[in-house]
C-alpha cells in the first residue's frame, strides 16, 4: 500500500527534460492541431493533455503527470467558448495560477466578434495575472506561431530555462487592461509580444 502511494507521488515529480501541457478548449478543434505541433518539439519532450473543460475526470488521475502549464483556448466568435473557460477556471487552485496558466484567443480579427467579449477576456486574464496570447487557428503558419509562443512559456513553467522562473515570467507577461479611451483598432494588437521578447 505504501509502495503504491510513493509510486503515485513519484509520478507527479517533474521528469528529466520533459514538459506537460494541458490544453482546455470547449470546441476541441484548435487543440488538436496545436497538440500535433507541440509534440514535434525535439529539444524537450512535450506531453500534451487535451480537455474539453475542467474538472478533469478522476479515473485518469493515476496516469496524469504533473501539469506545468494550463492553456485556456477561447474562440472569440462563440460566447459558449468563453463561458466554458470561465466555468473551468473555478476548478483551478488559486495558488496554481501564477505562471502556470495562460489564455489563448482565436478569431480576434473576426468582424462578428463583439468588442465587449474581447474586453471581458482581457479583464479575466488581467485579474488572474495571466498572459493573453492571440492566435490564428485556420492557417498552418498561425498554428506554428502559436506553438512557438506556447513552447517558450512552457519551457519556463517546466523549469527548463536556467535563471527564469514561472513567477518571474508572469510578472513580465501578464495581461493588462488597456485604458478605456483607446480606439478599438489598437486594442487588437497582441498584448503578449508587446512587452518582452521571449527568446530563451
Amino acid at each position: 500500500m505504501s509502495d503504491a502511494r510513493s509510486e503515485k507521488k513519484r509520478d507527479k515529480l517533474p521528469g528529466l527534460n520533459t514538459a506537460n501541457i494541458l490544453l482546455v478548449e470547449s470546441e476541441e478543434q484548435f487543440q488538436k492541431s496545436l497538440a500535433d505541433a507541440l509534440v514535434e518539439e525535439t529539444a524537450v519532450t512535450v506531453y500534451v493533455r487535451l480537455a474539453k473543460s475542467l474538472p478533469l475526470p478522476k479515473e485518469n488521475e493515476e496516469s496524469r503527470p504533473r501539469i506545468d502549464l494550463v492553456v485556456f483556448i477561447i474562440n472569440l466568435t462563440s460566447e459558449l467558448s468563453f463561458q466554458s473557460a470561465e466555468a473551468s477556471l473555478k476548478y483551478l487552485d488559486p495558488g496554481y495560477l501564477l505562471g502556470k496558466v495562460c489564455f489563448m484567443v482565436t478569431n480576434a480579427r473576426n468582424v462578428s466578434v463583439p468588442t465587449k467579449r474581447l474586453d471581458a477576456v482581457r479583464k479575466l486574464a488581467a485579474a488572474l495575472h495571466c498572459p493573453l496570447l492571440f492566435a490564428e487557428d485556420q492557417t498552418s503558419d498561425g498554428v506554428t506561431n502559436a506553438t512557438k509562443r506556447l513552447l517558450s512559456i512552457l519551457k519556463v513553467s517546466a523549469g527548463l530555462v536556467p535563471m527564469a522562473t514561472a513567477l518571474y515570467l508572469s510578472s513580465l507577461t501578464s495581461c493588462t487592461v488597456p485604458p478605456r479611451h483607446r480606439p478599438a483598432k489598437l486594442r487588437l494588437a497582441p498584448v503578449f509580444s508587446g512587452g518582452v521578447s521571449l527568446n530563451f
Partner: protein
C-alpha cells in the same frame, strides 16, 4: 417558326451550361453526328440558340422533342429549385400491382379529364423513378412549356416528389395521382429541400443508420486512428459517448443534405407574472428556423461536440426519424415548449 418553340429553345440553351450541352444533346439522340460536331464548336449562347433552331427546322423537331431534351437535362441535374415531398396513404388492394404502362395511361387520362389543355410527358429513369413533366394550360390557353411542373414518383412506393407546382394546380395533380396509383389519400410529407436525392434518401431511409446499443460496435473501434503517444485526451470517454448518441440520432455515414428545418410553435402562453398574455384566447405563435448548407450534418456535429445537449432532443432527432423538416408543435404535441428552447443553443 413557332414563337413558343423559339422561346423554349432560347430557355433551354440558357439553362444548360455549355460544358454539359454536348452530353445532353448526345443523350437526346435527335441530332446527327455532323450536327453535334457543329454545335460543339460554337461558343456563344446566342449562336447556339440560332443553330439549334435551324437544326430543329431541318430535322422537323417539334415542341414535344424539345421537352424531351429538357427532361433529359432535368433528370441529370435535379438539384434546382425546391423539391417538396408528398406521401400517398391508404393503398387500395391493387396498389402494389400498378405497372408503368398502366400508370402512364391512367395518369394521362385522369389529368386530361380535368384539364383539357395539358401536356404530359412521362419517362422512366434507371433507378425505378418515374419522371413526369406537366405543362399546364387553362381553358383558353395552350400548355405553357416554360413553366412545367416536375413530378418524381417511385412506383409501388407511396412517395412523390414535386417541384414548381402552383397552388392552383395542386388539387388537380393530387387527384390524378391518387386515382392512377390506387391509393386513397395524398398528403404533404412536410419535407422539402433543394437536393432531390437527399430528401428521397431521407424519406425512404436510404442513409446509414445507427441503432442504440450498449456495446460499442466494431465500426467505432476501427475508426480510432493511431495518435501520438504523447498526446492524451482527458475526456475521451464522454466524447465517444456523445458521438455514439449523435450517431444514434442522425446516422453514422454521410447524411442527406437538407437546407432547413422549421418548427412552428402554437401553444398557450404560460407565465404567472404576465396575466395579459396568459389569459389570451389565441395560441402564442413562434417560428424557429434552422438553416445550413447541410443541416443534418451540422446538427450531428452540434451534438457530438457538446454544443447541443445529449441525448439529442426528440425535436431534432425526429427530422431523420420521421423524415420531416417542418413541424408544428401544439400543446398536445410531442415536445413541450421548454424542450424547444434548449434546441436553440
Amino acid at each position: 417558326m413557332d414563337e413558343s418553340k423559339k422561346r423554349l429553345v432560347q430557355r433551354l440553351i440558357r439553362r444548360i451550361p455549355t460544358k454539359m450541352l454536348k452530353t445532353t444533346l448526345e443523350k437526346w439522340g435527335h441530332l446527327t453526328g455532323e450536327q453535334l460536331r457543329a454545335m460543339d464548336s460554337i461558343q456563344s449562347k446566342w449562336a447556339l440558340t440560332e443553330s439549334l433552331l435551324a437544326i430543329c427546322e431541318e430535322n422537323e423537331l417539334a415542341v414535344k422533342h424539345l421537352t424531351e431534351l429538357e427532361m433529359i437535362y432535368m433528370i441529370d441535374n435535379p438539384d434546382q429549385g425546391m423539391w417538396y415531398a408528398f406521401q400517398l396513404t391508404d393503398p387500395g388492394d391493387d396498389a402494389q400491382s400498378v405497372d408503368l404502362m398502366q400508370f402512364k395511361e391512367q395518369f394521362k387520362s385522369h389529368l386530361r379529364e380535368i384539364v383539357r389543355q395539358v401536356s404530359v410527358k412521362i419517362k422512366k429513369h434507371t433507378d425505378e423513378a418515374v419522371w413526369i413533366r406537366i405543362a399546364w394550360g387553362d381553358t383558353y390557353s395552350r400548355p405553357d412549356h416554360l413553366k412545367p411542373t416536375y413530378v418524381v414518383h417511385y412506383l409501388q412506393t407511396p412517395y412523390v416528389f414535386v417541384t414548381r407546382l402552383n397552388s392552383k394546380q395542386k388539387p388537380i395533380l393530387f387527384q390524378a395521382m391518387v386515382l392512377s396509383t390506387r391509393y386513397q389519400y395524398f398528403k404533404d410529407a412536410n419535407l422539402s429541400g433543394r437536393n432531390l436525392t437527399a430528401i428521397r434518401d431521407l424519406l425512404m431511409r436510404k442513409y446509414q443508420q445507427v441503432f442504440p446499443t450498449k456495446y460499442p460496435s466494431p465500426l467505432t473501434e476501427r475508426k480510432q486512428t493511431v495518435t501520438n503517444p504523447h498526446v492524451e485526451r482527458e475526456q475521451a470517454k464522454p466524447a465517444a459517448n456523445r458521438l455514439q448518441m449523435a450517431c444514434e440520432a442522425f446516422g453514422g455515414g454521410t447524411l442527406p443534405q437538407l437546407q432547413s428545418a422549421v418548427y412552428k410553435l402554437e401553444t398557450k402562453f404560460r407565465d404567472h407574472t404576465n396575466t395579459l398574455m396568459t389569459e389570451r384566447e389565441e395560441p402564442f405563435r413562434c417560428v424557429v428556423k434552422f438553416s445550413s448548407t447541410n443541416l443534418l450534418e451540422s446538427l450531428k456535429n452540434c451534438a457530438s461536440s457538446g454544443i447541443a445537449s445529449t441525448p439529442v432532443t426528440p425535436l431534432l432527432s425526429s427530422i431523420p426519424l420521421k423524415g420531416k423538416n417542418y413541424f408544428v408543435i401544439t400543446d398536445n404535441g410531442p415536445g413541450p415548449s421548454s424542450q424547444r428552447r434548449q434546441t436553440q443553443n
